[in-house]
Amino acid sequence: MTQGATRSQTPSGPQKKAGQAPALLLRDIDKAFDGKTALSGASFRLDWGEVHALVGENGAGKSTIMNVATGVYAPDHGEVIVDGRDVPLRSPVDAVAAGIGMVHQHFRLVGRFTVAENVALALGGIGRRIGIGKAAQLVKRKSAELGFALDPEARVERISVAEQQRAEIIKVLLLGAGIMILDEPTAVLTQQEAEALLSMARRLAQAGHAVVLITHKLQEVADHCDRITVMAQGRTVLDAAPMAQTSLAQVTRKAFGEVKEQEPVQPGTLGGELLRLENLRVRHGAVTLDGLNLSLRAGEILGIAGVGGNGQSELVACLNGLLRPLDGKIFLADEDLTAASPAKRRKAGLRVVPADRFDSALVRDMTLSENLALTGLESGRFGPWWGLSRRSMKRNAENSLKEFNVLGGGPETRASVLSGGNAQKVLLARELAAGTRVVVAHSPVRGLDLRSARAVLNLLVASARQGAACLLISEDLDEILRMCGSAAVLNRGRLSPPLSGADLNPARLGELMVGHA
C-alpha cells in the first residue's frame, strides 16, 4: 500500500466534524516516580477516526502518559478528558469502562488459558459474564470481521507472537474499546505481519475508532499515520501535527536532537579467518538447521538476515554451547570448539550477545559491578577463589561504565533498573572486553531508540576495527545494509551464500528471506 493511497482512504466522515470533542485529551500531566520526574506538563490529543503516532526516545514518557490514559498510573497533576467528559480513571477497569484499550508490549494474556478463556475472563472483569463457548463465538466473529483467522480454543502460550497480539487486540475490542493504544506493536513482528497489523489499524480508524501507535520506526509513521505527537524528556515537543505537513527529518530532530545521518560503515582491513562453521546440522523442537557453512574473518562484520524463527536462536544457542549440533564442526582459528563447554568457548574468545539481554546474559537482580565481574571471576582479576575483591570489581565497573557511556546507574545499581539501551551497553561492555576474538550479536538493538541503537552498533564497529570478527544476526534490513560488508540470509534453517557489493541490496535479500528454496 503506498503512502498516497493510504491517505486518500482516510475517512474525513462523521467523526471529524468540526466541534466534535476529541476522543482523548490529556492536559498538563505531571507524574513522578520516587521523586524522579517521568512527565512534566505533558499533553496529548487524539481524534476519532485517526491513526496517531506517538514517538520519542526510550524514557521520553510515551509509555507513562499512555499508562495514565489507561488508569494504570494516577497522574500527580493534570486532567484526562475522554470524548469530552472529565472521567476519573482510578484503575485499568475505569479506563476499560470509558472505552480505552491498550495492547501492551507484554500482552496481558494468561498463557495457560485459551484465547476464549482469556476473553471470558476479561469480559467478566467488566461485569459481562459469558460462558467459554459464547466467548469463542465472539472471538470467531470478531476475527472474521478483522480479516484473519484465530482459533479460539488454542492455548495462548502455544500460538505465535503475532497471533497472541491478534488475540489481545480482539480482547480489547470486545471489551468495547473505541480508543485503541498499541505500544510498539511491530517490534515483535516480521515485516509481513507488521504490514498486516498496520493496515488493520487503518481499517479500525476508518470504522470510527481512534488508534494510537507508539513506535520507534519512523517509516511506519510516515506510511500509516495521520498525525504525530513527539515526546522528549517527559514533555510534549510536537503536539498532534498533521503528518502531511511534517517531515521525518523534523520529527527526528524533535525526538532525538541533532543526530547526524549515519553513513554506511566502511569495511576495515580484513585479517585471517577466525570463525568457521562446517556443515553444521542442529535439530531443536520444530526447527532444523541444515548444513550451515560460514567463514568469518578478523575485522569483518558479517550479517545474517532473515525473518525470526528461521533458526536464528538455534544458531546462537549452538555457538555459545547451549545446544549440541547433530553433525558438523565449529572452528575458532583452527581450534575445534564443536564440543567445547561455554566456559571454554569464552576462554577461546568467542562471545555471544543473545537477543534477550536478561534471559541468558545479565542477571536482573545483581548489581552492575557484579554483572560485569561475572565472566572475569575465573581469571582471578577479582581476587583468588577464596575471596572476592569488591574494590577491584567496583573499579572494573566504573571503568567499563565510563568507557561504554552507560547512563542511569553506577556500579551498585541493579541491572533491572537500567533502560534497554543502557542494559545492552553494559552487556557489550562485558562481552567486548579484552580477549574477544569473535562476537555473535543477535538483534542487539531491538527495542532501542535511535540514539542508543547507534551507540550500540558503533561499539560493534569499533570492536571489529580492533580486529574482532563480528556476526550480526538481525531482522532489520537497514541495520544489516548499513553495518555489514557482506550478508547471508537464514531461511528455513538454510543459510544462503553471502552477498556482497552490488548484490547486497534489499530486493535480493528480501527475495532470499521469503523464498521457499
Binding site: S91, P92, V93, V96, R108, L109, G111, R112, F113
Partner: protein
C-alpha cells in the same frame, strides 16, 4: 482372598478421604498462586480441635466443623503473612507447620489417648441400618468429600469465579488489569484450603481413630503436597493420587493382620516408597507439561516499575 479384598475396600476410603480433602484444599490455594506448605500443621490443629470438642461431649459433626474452623483460623495467619505482608511462601508455610504442631503439643497434652465416641458409621445411624456392609462401614464424611470434589472441580473449571481464581495464579498482572482483587482472591483461596485441611485433620481424630494422639497426622500433610504435584493441580488427578497412597496404606495394614512375617516398619514405609516411585515416573513422563500455576509462590506488586 475375596475376604481380604472386601476388607481392603472397606477401610480404603478411610485412608483416602483425609488425603483427598487436604489435597483439594491445596489445589485451590495453589491454583490461586499461593504455595501452601502448611497443611501438616493445619491438619494437626484440625485433628486436635475436633477431638477436644468430641471429648467435651459436643455432637461429633459439630466437632468436625470446629476442626475445620480451627484449620481456617491458622491458615489465616499464613494467609495474612504471605498475601498481605508478602512473606516468602515457603518460609511462612514451614513456620505455620511448626506453629500448628507446637499448639497441638501444648494444648492437646492433657487429652492424649482419651478415647471418645466420635462420628458413627452409617450403619449405626437410625436411617442407615439397612445399607450394604461396604457402604455401611463408612461415615457421613465420605459422601460429603465426593460432593466437595465435584464442587471444587466444577467451581475451578466451570464458573467465572473459578476462571478468575486460576487467572490470579497464572498471571496476576493480567488478572489485575481485568479488575480482580488479587489479595482478596488469594486470601479466600488460602482460607478455603485451611477449612479443607482442618476437615481432613478432624476426620483423622473424630471419624477414624476416635482418639487424639500427638503426631497422629504422621506426615499426611506432606503427602498431600506431593499428591497435588503428581495430580498436575487437577482435582481428578488428586482423586487418583489420594486413592493410590490411601489404598497402599490400607493394604499394608490388612496384610499385617494376616500375620505375615514381615518387618512392621518396612511395611509402614512401603506406601511412602511406592508413592515416591509412582510420582517420579509420573513426573518424568510429563516432562514439564502441566507444570504448576505459572505465578505459584511469587509475590505480586502492582505499581512495580521494572
Amino acid at each position: 482372598m475375596t475376604d481380604l479384598v472386601l476388607a481392603w475396600l472397606t477401610v480404603f476410603p478411610g485412608y483416602t478421604v483425609p488425603l483427598l480433602l487436604a489435597s483439594l484444599g491445596l489445589v485451590i490455594s495453589e491454583r490461586a498462586g499461593v504455595l501452601n506448605l502448611c497443611t501438616e500443621g493445619l491438619m494437626a490443629v484440625g485433628a486436635m480441635t475436633g477431638a477436644l470438642m468430641a471429648l467435651a461431649g459436643y455432637d461429633p459433626l459439630l466437632a468436625v466443623a470446629c476442626g475445620a474452623l480451627a484449620g481456617a483460623a491458622l491458615s489465616l495467619v499464613f494467609g495474612v503473612a504471605t498475601v498481605v505482608f508478602r512473606a516468602d511462601h515457603t518460609l511462612a508455610g514451614l513456620a505455620t507447620v511448626a506453629l500448628g504442631l507446637g499448639i497441638t503439643g501444648v494444648v492437646g497434652r492433657p487429652y492424649v489417648q482419651k478415647p471418645f465416641d466420635g462420628l458413627p458409621r452409617l450403619s449405626d445411624t437410625v436411617w442407615g441400618a439397612d445399607l450394604p456392609r461396604l457402604v455401611g462401614q463408612q461415615n457421613i464424611l465420605l459422601p460429603l468429600t465426593v460432593l466437595l470434589l465435584l464442587a471444587v472441580w466444577g467451581w475451578l473449571f466451570r464458573t467465572h469465579s473459578g476462571l478468575r481464581l486460576r487467572a490470579v495464579g497464572e498471571d496476576p498482572a493480567a488478572a489485575d488489569v481485568v479488575g480482580i482483587d488479587i489479595q482478596l482472591t488469594q486470601l479466600g483461596a488460602v482460607l478455603a484450603s485451611g477449612v479443607l485441611a482442618g476437615l481432613a485433620g478432624a476426620y483423622l481424630s473424630v471419624a477414624a481413630a476416635h482418639v487424639w494422639v500427638e503426631g497422629m497426622v504422621a506426615g499426611r500433610g506432606w503427602v498431600a503436597v506431593a499428591i497435588v504435584i503428581f495430580a498436575g493441580w487437577r482435582p481428578w488427578g488428586v482423586l487418583l493420587g489420594a486413592g493410590l497412597f490411601g489404598g497402599a496404606e490400607a493394604a499394608m495394614l490388612r496384610l499385617q493382620t494376616l500375620g505375615l512375617d514381615f518387618p512392621i516398619y518396612l511395611g509402614a514405609m512401603l506406601p511412602y516408597a511406592l508413592t515416591l516411585l509412582v510420582f517420579c515416573i509420573a513426573c518424568a513422563r510429563r516432562r514439564g507439561e502441566n507444570a504448576g500455576p505459572a505465578a505459584l509462590g511469587k509475590a505480586y506488586l502492582r505499581q512495580d516499575k521494572h
